[in-house]
Amino acid sequence: MKAIAAFLCGLTLGVGLIVSQMTNPAKVVAFLDVAGRWDPSLAVVMGSALLVAFAGFAWVERRGRPMLGGDLAMPPRWPVDRRLLAGAALFGIGWGIGGFCPGPALVATAGLSIDAAVFTAAMLAGMAVANRLGAAAASARRTFSREPSDSAQ
């Protein structure tokens, strides 16, 4: 049952990316190119997605538990730390170069784009490397039993 819900979510999200043309890197770069011929479409995509998601998450918080059972596993809302900022910065640079973020890259690869497949292969490698680095960092933290000191809050 949970797998069916997740499948439908992935499918709907993927079709949403296709309908909104966010699977086309040229359109994403045209949004990021504020100094050139600017295409504001991505802002509309994000705005309308947020509208629905905002209502949905408010409902989730009120319910306190998911409809299909299990726990509500939501990530922490704060603090903003150096890892978050550094990661988001690297992601932004890659996003600007290629015009792909992870969702559209996967959907475009499934749509049999060779360019998207090249990007996705590199992205998977990058994720696996970061996983290893993260695991190593976590084990180092355990060893020295110290907390990250770069928390803002």
Partner: protein
């Protein structure tokens, strides 16, 4: 700033955006998880942290989600929705560099456009908001440098 009116597609952007927002709300409501693609993908790859949502019973729904995402172009092909072209502006070496940066960055930064930009902001997460502002700013700066200073894309 010059708006490229012929390229602007507010109608399809609105409909697609509503679908994306619905999908994010749907996953949270049904199974209580964030529809963040980098997190879902990264946590089924080698080296993902154990013990957090990512190991054991978490694997099934993640794989199902990814299969749904991969099935989207097929569904679009058999329905009235045309798959838009995938037009890249840079050559493969640039795409490889971009992919590595996106892969490493989204794992270190714990999220991407969907997890931080849609889910994070929608649930009032300061981390999500700050991450989104950061990757947007760096994306805009990168395109500015490539398009207007180095003129890399053809």
């Amino acid at each position: 700033m010059t708006i490229d009116w012929p390229a602007f597609t507010p109608g399809s952007a609105l409909i697609g955006g509503l679908m994306i927002g619905f999908a994010a709300a749907f996953l949270a409501l049904t199974i209580g998880r964030i529809a963040g693609i980098s997190g879902i993908l990264g946590n089924v790859l080698p080296g993902a942290p154990a013990g957090r949502p990512g190991s054991g019973g978490e694997r099934g729904w993640r794989i199902a989600f990814l299969l749904g995402l991969a099935a989207a172009p097929g569904l679009a092909a058999v329905s009235a929705v045309p798959m838009p072209p995938v037009e890249t502006l840079v050559d493969w070496p640039w795409l490889v560099a971009a992919g590595l940066l996106v892969g490493v960055g989204t794992r270190i930064g714990s999220g991407c456009t969907s997890g931080h930009g849609v889910c994070g902001i929608a649930r009032g997460s300061l981390r999500g908001l700050v991450a989104t502002i950061t990757f947007m700013a760096f994306g805009i700066a990168t395109v500015f440098v490539l398009e207007h200073m180095l003129q890399v894309p053809s």
